[in-house]
């Protein structure tokens, strides 16, 4: 396959940045999207240019590190697929592909396609955990959890924190991410003692980080590689409003 790539290049946080066009020949349809970028980068290095910076780690679709906006879609055209698990067979020979970083005020560009997602870490740090005395793991059957609750909690726990929801949202909102974490922990008995403070603090941090609000456009859930449902946002709203009526 021969492709025309239009990639966002930005030297650093202060640089203005611009879309730069590259021609890439002989791309195998069996390459992953990141492997295609690897091929481009090898060529750029040989030509004495700086390679395109992009985030990646496991390349198995489970770590949440990778993610770019491909032709206006976070993680590209394939449903429930991270950028690393997207293959070039999804594209056609001769196609022009636009590659941009996540765009959000709360996710400033570090370089090229790399953005600073530590805002997510601060949301997690303010309540996305359960406080337990560490030691040997307790007997699992000591705390029974109904099957439907366990399933719903697990569905939300599959969030890998990649930030595609924020990238897809026209308001740069982190509601889907925060709702997945809050729903996951607040559904389970282990999360119950901190149920109110968790949601209150995580929402406060989410707002402080400069993420936008939710207008229920539904863009986030379409972009989410793990299919976190929009109903989680409804649950976050419920948990939040409930928490304000209790101590």
């Amino acid at each position: 396959m021969n492709l025309t790539l239009r990639i966002w290049r930005q030297r650093g946080p202060e640089d203005r940045g611009a879309m730069v066009t590259y021609e890439l020949a002989d791309v195998s349809p069996d390459m992953s999207f990141l492997e295609m970028l690897d091929v481009l980068n090898e060529r750029l290095i040989l030509e004495g240019e700086d390679p395109v910076a992009f985030d990646h780690d496991c390349r198995e679709g489970i770590c949440g590190m990778c993610g770019v906006v491909i032709n206006g879609q976070a993680h590209g055209p394939r449903d429930r697929t991270t950028t690393c698990q997207l293959h070039m067979r999804e594209f056609t020979d001769g196609e022009t592909i636009d590659i941009e970083p996540w765009r959000a005020a709360a996710f400033p560009v570090v370089r090229d396609l790399v953005v600073d997602r530590s805002g997510f870490d601060r949301i997690i740090g303010s309540g996305g955990y359960i406080s337990v005395v560490t030691g040997s793991a307790p007997e699992a059957h000591a705390t029974p959890v109904p099957k439907d609750i366990a399933d719903a909690a697990f569905d939300n726990a599959t969030c890998i924190g990649c930030g595609a929801c924020v990238a897809a949202c026209p308001n740069g909102s982190a509601m889907l991410f925060t709702s997945a974490k809050v729903t996951h922990l607040n559904l389970l008995p282990q999360g119950a003692p901190e149920r109110e403070t968790r949601v209150r603090d995580m929402v406060a941090t989410m707002d402080d980080e400069g993420f936008g609000g939710c207008t229920n456009t539904g863009e986030c859930t379409v972009a989410c590689p793990k299919g976190i449902p929009l109903t989680s946002i409804g649950n976050l709203n419920r948990e939040y409003l409930r928490s304000l009526t209790r101590r």
């Binding site: 239009r6 966002w8 290049r9 030297r11 650093g12 946080p13 640089d15 879309m19 240019e49 700086d50 906006v69 206006g72 879609q73 636009d98 941009e100 765009r103 005020a105 709360a106 570090v110 370089r111 790399v114 600073d116 530590s118 740090g125 303010s126 949202c169 026209p170 308001n171 740069g172 209150r200 603090d201 929402v203 406060a204 941090t205 707002d207 402080d208 400069g210 936008g212 609000g213 939710c214 207008t215 229920n216 456009t217 539904g218 863009e219 859930t221 379409v222 929009l230 109903t231 989680s232 946002i233 409804g234 649950n235 709203n237 419920r238 939040y240 409003l241 409930r242 304000l244 009526t245």
Partner: protein
């Protein structure tokens, strides 16, 4: 393209939670948060929706003729008498609506500003997959409706810009206004904007207030469409009837 040594070294901000300057009272926390502001929007929207439903049904009384409609218009000023004095009920309702409108508009403005600031840079290649026309016109639609309400009050409440403008002659005031083509057009555009606003706003408000079951959401979306069509169509029948000569 290549990097030079003088470039600013990217720094990842330290992972720490800051709790300074956050309000501690439940009301303060509620009002400062995006979810709290949206809850205010949802509730005030619901109040206005309820009012609009009654207003629309009342408007349909125009089809019973001049006398019946004017009598109804007069009755609106005397609801609650003798428990309430004169037009008290009307003024209580107006005050309630004014509070709802001010809160709805204030939160809409504050949230919109925040949302636009949260996404300062657009994508070179933009693609919206999910958002409907109704979603994308919430802000402009809201402004159209607000401007319409101002004109509407000047037209039929204060009678400032009404061509007939006789107090108590509600029927003739309406006919005189809708005999002007651009007033009718503005009215119809505003009612379509209102329909779209309700279409997204109704179930969106329900989710903001905590509805989180997929089945219930589906029913709420159907209810939103029914309400939007009913209210828009109900209001629009009056100017259409005037245009068609059914009401004159």
């Amino acid at each position: 393209m290549s990097w030079t040594d003088e470039e600013v070294v990217p720094r990842v901000r330290s992972v720490a939670v800051t709790n300074d300057a956050r309000p501690t009272s439940p009301v303060g926390i509620f009002w400062r948060s995006t979810i709290g502001k949206k809850a205010v929007m949802a509730v005030t929207g619901g109040v206005m929706l309820l009012y609009l439903l009654v207003h629309m049904l009342g408007n349909l009384k125009i089809f019973y003729g001049r006398e019946s409609f004017d009598e109804y218009a007069h009755w609106l000023r005397t609801i609650g008498v003798p428990a309430l004095h004169g037009a008290w009920f009307l003024w209580i309702m107006r005050a309630l609506l004014l509070v709802a409108i001010v809160l709805h508009a204030t939160t809409a403005y504050q949230l919109s500003r925040r949302d636009l600031k949260a996404r300062p840079q657009k994508y070179a290649h933009r693609q919206r997959l999910e958002a409907s026309y109704a979603v994308n016109t919430m802000r402009y639609g809201g402004i159209i409706i607000a401007l319409f309400v101002i004109y509407h009050l000047l037209d039929f409440t204060t009678l400032t810009v009404n061509r007939h403008g006789v107090e108590g002659a509600a029927y003739d005031n309406i006919v005189s206004s809708f005999s002007v083509w651009w007033v009718t057009l503005f009215y119809i555009i505003a009612m379509l904007a209102l329909g779209l606003h309700i279409h997204h706003g109704f179930w969106s408000a329900a989710r903001t207030l905590g509805v989180h079951s997929a089945a219930r959401e589906k029913n709420l979306k159907i209810a939103a469409t029914v309400l939007a069509v009913l209210i828009s169509a109900g209001f629009v029948t009056v100017p259409i009837a005037v245009l068609a000569g059914l009401v004159d």
